[in-house]
């Protein structure tokens, strides 16, 4: 009887050993997006030195980003949609260094050669409306949906240009499928099992208006809301793409 019990116990134990899944340790990737002005953290409602003696102050600085992935021989999707609401986050002086961090802790270890993401949404995502989502999903926010365009507002960059001749209120909103901008950072990103690697992505709001010394004519292009202002929206979307800088920690 004792022998039989021992035998059964051994069989059970062996069976258990066989069923134990192989544990493959994953790697972590942390993406942190920060809004800066000329390398300083961007603080809403603070006057920054602009160009030619003018100052600039931002009242809104928000973006919808999408289709975040890393790739080597194949793409690994990290997130479909995220919201970078710097208008709220960067209103608080104690939080402007934080930025928006997204942690992906279940990534296959390996060497990835590119980071991909969009400022804006892909066409399928942009066919949806806030009614398709539940708060706090970023796309549930009706404030980010512009019925007149049948599109989400991909980016909002609002503020004031303060000059000797007066104050100029600017309001640049981008949206509509053609204004989505795809970004790609080609860089070896080695993710090791059990370790977390961080990439910091800076969006420099000065560079949205100043590229290689060329200053965007804010005074004569104050807004991009209507179809008649589509050229302004394209310029802002293009410059925003160029205003992005990466740092691999």
């Amino acid at each position: 009887m004792r022998i039989a019990t021992l035998l059964i116990s051994m069989i059970v134990l062996l069976g258990a050993c066989e069923k134990e899944p192989m544990v493959v340790e994953k790697a972590g990737l942390k993406l942190t997006f920060k809004a800066v002005y000329d390398s300083e953290p961007l603080l809403l409602s603070r006057n920054y030195e602009f160009m030619n003696g003018d100052s600039i102050r931002f009242q809104r600085a928000d973006l919808i980003i999408s289709d975040i992935s890393i790739g080597n021989s194949k793409n690994v999707s990290l997130s479909q949609v995220e919201w970078l609401g710097f208008s709220e986050k960067n209103a608080d002086p104690s939080k402007i260094e934080e930025g928006f961090s997204f942690n992906f802790n279940d990534v296959e270890p390996g060497v990835y050669t590119s980071l991909y993401w969009n400022i804006g949404l892909n066409q399928v995502q942009n066919r949806s409306t806030p009614a398709n989502y539940t708060f706090p999903h970023p796309l549930s926010n009706a404030e980010l949906y512009w019925a007149g365009w049948n599109s989400y507002i991909f980016s909002r960059t609002d503020g004031k240009l303060l000059t000797e001749s007066g104050t100029y209120d600017f309001s640049y909103h981008t949206g509509g499928d053609i204004l989505t901008r795809a970004l790609e950072w080609n860089q070896n990103i080695e993710l090791k099992a059990g370790e977390v690697k961080e990439i910091i992505i800076y969006i420099d709001y000065k560079k949205i208006f100043v590229q290689d010394g060329e200053v965007y004519d804010i005074k004569n292009n104050l807004s991009s809301h209507t179809s008649a202002q589509i050229a302004v929206a394209h310029a802002i979307a293009d410059n925003m793409k160029l205003a992005v800088k990466y740092e691999l920690k």
């Binding site: 809403l44 409602s45 603070r46 009242q59 809104r60 208008s87 209103a91 608080d92 409306t129 806030p130 009614a131 989502y133 539940t134 708060f135 706090p136 549930s140 926010n141 009706a142 404030e143 949906y145 512009w146 019925a147 007149g148 365009w149 609002d158 503020g159 004031k160 209120d169 600017f170 309001s171 104050l222 807004s223 809301h225 209507t226 179809s227 008649a228």
Partner: protein, 370 residues
């Protein structure tokens, strides 16, 4: 003799003190367990194109809870002298506003703010009151009772009045499953009021019927007004930029804006969003109210300073009062719409947001009058 008078006086004070501040004393405990507690879920119908409503997990909507909330909403029992109820400042026929620049509370005291419409208030996710100082309907409902300009009552007194009220004993039992009357709490009152308010969905306006294609078209002026509102007239008309802060379909961005009402000096002396967050970028900001039923909710703004929709459009057309933090969207859109015809079209569109089904809905009426 002098000692006796002092003692009697002391006892009287202590007694009245007990009655007022310690309502548990003397009132009998009423066992309510013989009343069935079997609440039925109340599904709030979400209209097409509307966002989903977030309902707190600890306060599911039930028929019994909504009914209790409705009774409490209309019952002046929560005010110090039983003269003021929620409905005093939130009248159904005015889309649950009161038609005053500043609401009048107990003893004729004038409040600090204009009453806000409750239409679709259940969809608000980013704070309530003009400055957004509370995060939910359940918390908001706790405030007016003890506000000296509103009901000026103490919660322990309210709870005692409800605990000794035979009808409310039963209703709280049915809604929340209390075992006896002493288990009634202010949090339950707030939950019931929140449940009732979440049912106040307004989606029966001409605009709604148009976007749901239940009617073929708005008339020409209304349609052009809508195009101006949404900045998509294709250049044919001036763009109003209204939808930035009053995004369809709720006609609010559920956010806070400095809309050029106050100078810097006035902002410093006024309770605005800044007083809640402490951020300079929130100076002079107030909640953008929903424009649904806007034709019924005059006067307008947090202080009721604009008497009519004409005044509101004039305010935005001229850009409002300059200040450091006035929203760039206001001056940018200042001077539009300029012509009387454009203003008229915009107002005609705003009138399409009036929902007569909502203001006549029997489910929201005073239950004491039915």
């Amino acid at each position: 003799m002098r000692s006796c008078i002092i003692l009697l006086f002391t006892v009287l004070i202590a007694f009245s003190g007990c009655r007022k501040d310690d309502p548990q004393v003397d009132d009998p405990i009423v066992d309510l367990q013989n009343i069935a507690y079997n609440p039925s879920a109340h599904t709030i119908p979400i209209p097409p194109l509307f966002p989903q409503m977030v309902i707190p997990a600890d306060n599911p909507t039930t028929q019994e809870g909504v009914l209790l909330g409705r009774f409490l909403f209309y019952d002046p029992i929560m005010s110090r002298d039983s003269s003021i109820s929620c409905a005093t400042c939130h009248k159904q026929e005015l889309s649950f506003t009161d038609g005053l620049d500043k609401s009048i509370g107990i003893d004729g005291k004038v409040g600090k703010r204009s009453s806000m419409s409750l239409a679709n208030i259940g969809f608000a996710n980013r704070g309530l009151f003009w400055d957004g100082r509370v995060s939910s309907l359940e918390i908001q409902a706790l405030h007016p009772v003890e506000d000296p300009n509103e009901m000026d009552e103490k919660w322990p007194n309210v709870i005692r009045k409800l605990q000794v009220h035979p009808t409310y004993q039963q209703m709280f039992r049915k809604a929340f499953g209390i075992k006896n009357n002493k288990e009634i709490t202010k949090e339950m009152v707030a939950k019931a009021l929140a449940q009732f308010q979440r049912t106040m969905v307004s989606a029966g306006s001409k605009y709604d019927k148009f976007i749901r294609q239940e009617i073929l078209d708005l008339d020409n002026d209304e349609f052009e007004g809508m195009s101006m509102f949404n900045d998509n007239s294709g250049g044919a008309l001036k763009d109003g930029g209204c939808a930035h802060c009053h995004s369809p379909v709720l006609f609010t961005a559920d956010n806070y804006f400095n809309n050029g009402l106050l100078t810097d000096a006035q902002q410093a002396m006024t309770q605005t969003r800044f007083n809640v967050t402490g951020f300079n970028s929130d100076m002079g900001k107030f909640r953008a109210v929903s424009l649904r039923n806007i034709a019924l909710t005059a006067p307008y703004m947090h202080d009721g300073s604009l008497a009519s929709l004409d005044d509101v459009i004039e305010h935005y057309s001229t850009g409002g009062v300059p200040s450091t933090n006035v929203d760039g969207l206001i001056p940018e859109h200042g001077a539009v719409p300029t012509s009387a015809s454009e203003k008229d079209k915009l107002i005609k569109f705003l009138n399409t947001l009036t929902d007569t089904e909502f203001i006549n809905n029997p489910a929201f009426k005073n239950p004491f009058e039915q």
